[in-house]
Subunit: 384 residues, 4 copies
C-alpha cells in the first residue's frame, strides 16, 4: 500500500511533488491505514547516465538535492521510498532504462535508500514473446536487488505478457497482469484491445477499470502471500468515475488482493475520496493473512454489461463475497450459498452466517454494519 506519482502527475514530478504528497499522507493519517510506500514513477532521470561510472543520475532540476535526500526525508516521516525503472533500453517516458545495467542500478537504488522498485517493460529490444526470455530479463534485476542486501520490494510492471503468474512467483513480489488502467468504469478502448490476458499480444493501456477485473478473474489462483497479481494503481479521486464506481473499484482491488497504491493528488482530495480509500474493513480484507484472492463464482450477461458473484475466504473462518454489476441499470439477483461456498462444500453451503455490509458504518462509525443473518440464500438482492 502506498502512493505513486504516475496516475495523476505523469512526467510532471519533482522533489516538491513527492514531498508535498508525503506530508499530506502523514498529516491525513493515511499511514495508519497502511499507505506507506511513496513511489517516484517515471521521469525522475537526468537525460543520461553518469558518463564515467554508468550509474543512474536524477534530473538535477527536478531533484536539486538528489534522490538520497528525498528518500531520507521520506524515511524520517516514517514512510518508505519507491523508485521506478524499465527492463529495457529506455523507460516508457523515454529516459534511460536498466536493461544491461541491472547491477549498478540496483546498487544505486539501494544506496539511495529505496525500499521498492517498480520495473517497467518498454523498449525491451525483442526480449519478450515467450516465458523464459521474460523471466530471465526480470530475474536479472531480482538477483541484482537481492545482491544489495537491502530489502527492496520488487514490483514487476510487465503488463502480463508471457504469463508472468507462472514464473514471477519465485523472483518478484507482484506482477502487473494487464496494460495500464484508465480512469473510466468500463468503456472499451482500442488501445487495450485484448479480451483476455491469457495470451494477449498487445497489453496496451487505457484499460477501463472493470475490464481489468475481467482480466483478473482466472488469475487469482496464482497469487498468495508475497506473490500478488497487480491490477494497477488506483484511480480513486482522479475524477473519471462516479462515487459508486470508485467504491466498486476499491472493493474489487481489495478482495482480489491487488496492491493498493493511490494514484490521485492526495494534497487535494475530496472527503468522498478520503472515505473510500480509508475503508479499513476492505483494507483488512486486502491485507488478510490468507492472501487468497476472491474467485468469480459465476458471471451472466445482462443488458449492457454483466453481473458476477465473487467469493473469497479469510482468516478465522470468515468469508467475503461481492456482486459486481457492470451494466448501466440496477439488477436484482438471488444469491445462493451453494455458489458463495462452492469451494467450501455442503456443510458451509447450509450454514448460517452473520452478514456485514462493508460500505455501511456501524453506530460507532466503523465500516462494516451488521445487516442480519442468512442461511442458504439471499433472495432478490439489488445491485446498483
Amino acid at each position: 500500500m502506498g502512493w505513486n506519482t504516475w496516475n495523476h502527475f505523469a512526467c510532471n514530478i519533482s522533489e516538491d511533488t513527492i514531498l508535498s504528497a508525503a506530508k499530506t499522507i502523514v498529516a491525513q493519517n493515511l499511514t495508519q491505514y497502511g499507505y506507506e510506500y511513496v513511489i517516484m514513477d517515471d521521469c525522475w532521470q537526468a537525460p543520461a547516465r553518469d558518463n564515467a561510472t554508468g550509474a543512474p543520475v536524477a534530473d538535477p532540476t527536478k531533484f536539486p538535492n538528489g534522490v538520497k535526500a528525498l528518500s531520507d526525508q521520506l524515511h524520517a516521516m516514517g514512510l518508505k521510498f519507491g523508485i521506478y525503472s524499465s527492463a529495457g533500453e529506455n523507460t516508457c517516458g523515454g529516459r534511460f532504462g536498466s536493461l544491461g545495467y541491472e547491477t549498478i542500478d540496483a546498487q544505486t537504488y539501494a544506496s539511495w535508500g529505496a525500499d521498492y522498485l517498480k520495473y517497467d517493460n518498454c523498449y525491451n529490444d525483442g526480449r519478450s514473446g515467450y516465458p523464459l526470455i521474460s523471466f530471465q530479463r526480470y530475474q536479472n534485476m531480482s538477483l541484482a536487488l537481492n545482491a544489495t542486501g537491502r530489502p527492496i520490494l520488487y514490483s514487476m510492471c510487465q503488463w502480463g505478457e508471457d504469463q508472468p503468474w507462472n514464473w514471477a512467483t519465485t523472483i518478484a513480489n507482484s506482477w502487473r497482469i494487464s496494460g495500464d488502467i484508465m480512469d473510466n468504469f468500463g468503456r472499451y478502448d482500442d488501445r487495450c484491445p485484448c479480451t483476455s490476458m491469457l495470451d494477449c499480444k498487445l497489453s496496451g493501456y487505457h484499460c477501463a477499470m472493470s475490464r481489468i477485473i475481467d482480466f483478473a478473474a482466472p488469475l487469482g489462483q496464482k497469487a498468495g502471500p508475497g506473490r500478488w497479481n497487480d491490477l494497477d494503481m488506483l484511480e480513486v479521486g482522479n475524477g473519471g468515475m462516479t462515487y459508486d464506481e470508485y467504491v466498486t473499484h476499491f472493493t474489487m482491488w481489495s478482495i482480489l488482493k491487488s496492491p493498493l497504491i493511490l494514484g490521485n493528488d492526495v494534497t487535494n482530495m475530496a472527503a468522498e475520496t478520503y472515505s473510500i480509500i480509508t475503508n479499513d474493513a476492505l483494507i483488512a480484507i486486502n491485507q488478510d493473512a490468507n492472501g487468497s484472492p476472491a474467485t468469480r463464482m459465476w458471471k451472466v450477461l445482462v443488458d449492457g454489461g454483466d453481473l458476477s458473484l465473487w467469493s473469497g475466504s479469510l482468516v478465522n473462518n470468515t468469508y467475503v463475497f461481492a456482486l459486481l454489476n457492470t451494466s448501466p441499470s440496477n439488477q436484482t439477483v438471488d444469491i445462493e450459498f451453494t455458489d458463495v461456498f462452492f469451494d467450501e462444500g455442503p456443510a458451509y453451503q447450509t450454514g448460517t452466517y452473520t452478514l456485514y455490509d462493508l460500505w455501511q458504518k456501524s453506530a460507532s462509525g466503523a465500516w462494516g454494519l451488521t445487516v442480519g443473518e442468512a442461511t442458504g440464500s439471499l433472495p432478490g438482492v439489488v445491485v446498483g
Copy 2:
C-alpha cells in the same frame, strides 16, 4: 491403476494415511481388479533437502520410519509404490522441487523402492512456452529414472502445456492433458478458463469432469500402448457427483484409456462407490491390449449441454461405444452403425452385433448383460 493421496487428503498425509489405504486396498480385493500402485502425492517432503548431499528428505514427523520403510511394507502387501515431485524449483505445495536435482532425486527414489513417479509442473522458472523447453525439462527426469536401472513408471503431470502428446511419447508413460480435475460433473469454473487444450495458456485447476472429456476428444489419436493421455485422477466416491455422474466418469476414463487412479478415501467407501470402481468389464476395456482410446464420432448441442457418440476398437474384433449426455435432461437419439463403425468401413457398418450393457450384470453377477442383437442402427436410445 492405483490410488493416490491427493484428491481426498491433499497435503494432510502421513505414513498412516498411506498404510491404512493400502491395507484396505488389499483387504477389499481391489488389487485383484488391477489397482496396484499406491501413490504418495505432494507434501511428503521435509522443509529442506539434506544439507550435505542435496538428497531429498521426507518429513520426519509424517514419515517417522522413512520412505523406504513405507515402500517395503507396500511391496510386502503386493502393492507398488509411487512418489511425487515437480519439474520446478518448488512443488505445487511449496516443497522443494526437482529442477536441477533430477539425478540425485531419481537415485533416491529408486533406492527407496519407488515404482512410479508423478512429476508436476509448478514453479518452473519460465521453462515452458514451447515444446522443446518442456521436452528437455521432462526428458531430464526421464533419463535420470532410466539411469537408475529400476523400472519406474513415469507419469508426467505437465497439464497439457506445449502439446506433450507430440513429444512425451518417447520419454514418458503418460502425460496429463489438462489442469486438475474438480469433483463436479460439468460446471464452468474461471480457474479452468480454456475451451480447448490444444494451445491453452492457463491450464489451471477446478476443471469439471465432463470438460476434461471434451478436452480429450481430439487427443486419443496420440495415445497407445505405453503412452497414455492422463485425464487426471478419479473423483469417484468423493461426493461431488451423483451415482450416474460417477458412472459416466468411470466409463469415459475407461474407454479413453486414461490411467485409473482412485482419488477417494478407500478406508471409508460406500458400496455404490465400490461397485463403480470394480466394474471389471470397463476395467478390461481400459486395459485392452489394443490400447486404442475411443473416438468421438459426433457431438451435437442440446439444451444445457451436448450429446456425443464415442466408439473404440478392442482386441478380438470387439468394439465399445458410448453415448454421453452432458445436458440436465434425458435425451433420445438414434445410433447409426455408419457412425459407430465409421473407421471400420461399410462391411462393419452393415454387420450384426451382439450388444452388452456394461453397467448391468448378467445372472451370474458379472458386469456386461447381453441386451440383444442389432444390425445397422439402434433407433431411439434414451440417454439419462
Copy 3:
C-alpha cells in the same frame, strides 16, 4: 505425379505390392499422363538400423531382394522411385526415423537409386513449435540430399506446422499443409480439430477432402514453380466418396497445383476411377508452367455447407475457374467476370471468352468440351 502405397495399403507393403502397382501403371499408360513416381511409404524398414554402420536397412521379409533391386526394376520400367522416412526418432509407423541420421540416410537412399523422399514429422522430440526449429530439422535432410549429388525430389510431410509455406520454399519442393486426408467428402472429425492451418497446434489426421481445400485457400500465394503446397495424396478410387465427389477432389487438387499422387489400388481400378485420374485437361492445368494456384474469389455459406468461386491464370492468356459446392443440395449461382478476373482488372472483366467444360469430352473424345462464349457474367449456373 505418381503413386504412393500408404492410402490404400498402409503398412501392408512388400516388393510385390509395389511392383504389381508399377506394372499396372505402365500397362495402363498412366505414365503417359504423367504419373511416374512410385513411392514406397512407411513400414519398409527392418526393425533396426545396421548395427555396425548405422545405415538404414529394409525389412528382409517384405523386400527379400533389397531396395536397390526394387528401384532398378522401377527404373527399367521408365518409372521413378520414391522412399519415405521421418524427421524424428521414429517414423509414424514406429520404425526408425532419420533425426540425427540425415547424412547416412540420404547417402543410402541415393545409393539405392531414390528419386524422391517423403519426409514425415512423427516423434520429433519437441523439435517443433516455431519456424526456426522446424526449418533446421528439415533443412538438415535437404542439405544431406543435395550433398549426394543425385537429384532427389524432397517432399516435406510436416503437416503445416510452424508455417512451412514461409520457409520451406528454399529447402524443399513441396510441403504438406495439413494433417492426413480421410477418404470422405466433408465430414468433421475430431481428429482433425483445427478450423485453419495458419497456426494449428494439432494437425491430426482424418481431415475430410473439402476441409483441406478450405485450409489451402489462403496459401496459394506461397506456391509456385518448384515450391508447392501439398494437399496430401489422392483418395480417388478408394471408395469413400461418390463419383461427383472424386471429380471435385481431382479438380481442386489440380487447379490448386497440389502434387497428384494416386493413393488407390491401381491393380484393381474401376473404369470410373481411371477416367477421373486421366483427365488430361485438368492434368495440364495442374502442370501448367505458370505454376499459379487458383485463388478463392469468394465464399458464401449455404445450407449445410458453402459455395465458393475459384479462379487461376494459366499460360497463353488462358484461365481456369471452378465453383465448389460443399452443401448436400444443388445450388444456383451467378458468376460475375468481375470476380473471375478480379486480379486481372477491368479490361479482362469485360472481355469475351470461349468456355470449356473440362469434365465433358469433345467429339474426338478429348476432355474439354466447348460450351459457348461469354462476356461479363454467367447467370444462374447450377452446381450439383
Copy 4:
C-alpha cells in the same frame, strides 16, 4: 514522403522509369508538398552478386549507367534516393537478398548515395516466429546502416509479424504493420486472411485499404516522432477505388501518421489524383510535430460495414477528427465532444471550437474551409 515504383510498375522498372517519375515529381511541384524520396523497389538487381566481392550488383540492362549515376541525378534534382532489399535469402521478386550480407550491402547502398532503405521479409529461412529472432535480423541491417556514417532512413517492410511496434522503435524509422495493400476499398480477400495483426501468422497481401485501417486502430499508441506505423504505400491514382474512396485513403493515412509514399504512375496522373495527394492541410497533419496518430474513439457496425470516429491531437492546441464509413450507403451520426475529446477530459469536452472541413477549399483556394463553430456535439452529421 515520396514515391515508390512497386504499386504501379512492380518488377518492370528501369533507370528510365525512375527518372521519368522523378522529373515529373519536380515538374509538378510535388517536392514542395514534401514528396522527396524516390524509391526503387524490388527487381533492380542483377541475377547474382559480384562473384569476387559479394557486393550487390544492379541489372545492367535496366540500369546501364549504374545505380550511383541514377542516385546522382536524383540528388541533382533535389530529391532523395531510396533502395530496396529483403532480410532473407532472396527478395520477394526472387532476386538475391541481404540476409548474411548486411554489411557489404549497407556499405554499397551508402556508396551509391542511398538515403532510404525499404527492407522486406521474404525467404527468411525460418528467422521469424518470435520477437527476438525478428529483432536481431532487422537489427543487423540497422547496425550496418548506422556504421556507414550516411544517414539512411530505415523502413522495415516486415509485415507486422512478431509485434514490431514493440521492438522496432529502437532500430528503425518505420515498420509495416500488415501484408501488402490492394488497390480496393474494402473487399475481403483470402490472401490477407487475418482479422487482426496482433498475432497474425499469415500477413499475406491483397489487403484492402479499409482493412488496413482496421489493423492500425490499436497500434497508434506505439508510434511517435521517428518511429512510425507504415500502412503501406498509397494506391491513390491506380484506378481501383473511386474519388471518395481515395479521399478516405489519403485522409486516414495522413491522420494515422503513416508514411505517405505515392504508388501511382506520376507521369500520367489525373487532375483528381493530383488534387488528393496535394491536400496540404492533410499533409500538414501527417507531418505535425506531435507525431501522434489519431485514435479510434468508437466503432459501430452498420449494414455492410462499420462507422467509426477517429480523433487526434496536433500542435498548438488543435485537433483533428474523422468519421469513417466503410458501408455502401450514407450514414447519419451524432458526434459528441465527449468522444472527440475523450482523452483531453471534461474541460475540452465542453469547449467551443472552430471547425474546418479539410476537403473543401477556402476562397483563397487553400484546403480547409471554415464550416462554423461548435460546442459539445455535432448532431446528425452525414457520412457518404
